[in-house]
Amino acid sequence: MLIKEKSEMNLVKKPIIILVLRSLFSLYFIINSNFVIMETENQSKIAEWVEQYSDYLLGFALSKITDRNLALDLLQDTFVSAMKSEARFEGRSSAKTWLTSILNRKIIDHWRQQKARKTDAVSHYSTSSEESGDWILEKNEVAVETAEQVIIKEEKQADLHDCMAKLPDQWQGIITAKYFEDKKGEEICNEFEVTSSNMWVIVHRAKTALRDCLGQNWFS
C-alpha cells in the first residue's frame, strides 16, 4: 500500500520538477538575451556617438593640448569611459555635452600629471672619481623647461577658448567663421547680415573683449 502511494507521489512530482526546470531555463534565456540586446544597443549607440561627435571632440581636445596623438588617445579613453558608464547617463544634458565633460576631465588629469612630472627629479648613481659611490639627485632642467613651455602654451590656448565662449553669439560666430572656417568677408557679411565695416568693428570689439577677459598675464 505504502509503496503504491510513494510511486503515485513520484508520478505527480516528476512533471512539476520538469516544469520548474523548464521555467528556470526559459527565465535564464530571457534575461541573458535581454542583456545581449542591451549590450548590442549600447555598442551601437557608442559607435553612433563616435561617428557623430569625434570630430567636435578632437577639435575641443586640440584647443587645449598640442599633441594630436595624445588628443586621439584621450578621445579614445573618453569613449571607453562613456561605454562603461553609459547606464549612468540620465539624458539631462545632450550626449555631446556629457562626452565633452568627460573629455575635459581627462584633459585636466593629463595636465595634473604633466605638472607633477615637471617637478620630477632624476637620480643616478655617480661613478666619477670625485663623487664616487654617491647617489646624485639633480633636476632634469631641459625636460622641465620643455614641459613648462608646453603647459603654458596649452593653458593659453585653453584660456582663449574659454574667453571666446563668453562672447556674444554673433561675435563668436563671426570670429569662428573668420579665423577657423576661413570664410571670406562677403560670405560672413551675408551670413550674419552685417556690412563690411560693421564686421570689422565687431572683430575689433571681440578682440578687445578677449583682451580684457584674458588679462595682462596672458600676453606677457
Binding site: I46, V50, S54, Q76, H161, V201, K207
Partner: protein, 75 residues
C-alpha cells in the same frame, strides 16, 4: 567711435585685406604716438597668431583613426 577705436578697427582690417593708402597713412601716424593703440596692436597680433595656431590643429579624424577608435572602444 573714438579715434583709437577707429584706428584699431582699421588695424584689424589691415591684417586681413588691403586698406586705402590714406587710411594706412593716418593709422601709421596715429600708431607712432599712441601708446594705447600700440599695446592693442601688439596684443591683437598675439591673439591672431594663437587663433591661427588653434585653427591649424583643429582638423577632422581620418577614416583610419575613426575606425581604430571604434574598434578599441567596442573591444
Amino acid at each position: 567711435m573714438s579715434k583709437c577705436d577707429e584706428i584699431q578697427t582699421w588695424f584689424e582690417q589691415s591684417l586681413e585685406e588691403n586698406i586705402s593708402p590714406t587710411k594706412r597713412m593716418k593709422m601709421r601716424f596715429h600708431l607712432m604716438r599712441c601708446k594705447c593703440c600700440q599695446g592693442y596692436t601688439k596684443d591683437s597680433i598675439q591673439i591672431h597668431s594663437t587663433f591661427k595656431n588653434l585653427k591649424s590643429r583643429a582638423s577632422r579624424l581620418t577614416a583610419e583613426e575613426r575606425a581604430r577608435i571604434t574598434k578599441e572602444v567596442l573591444k
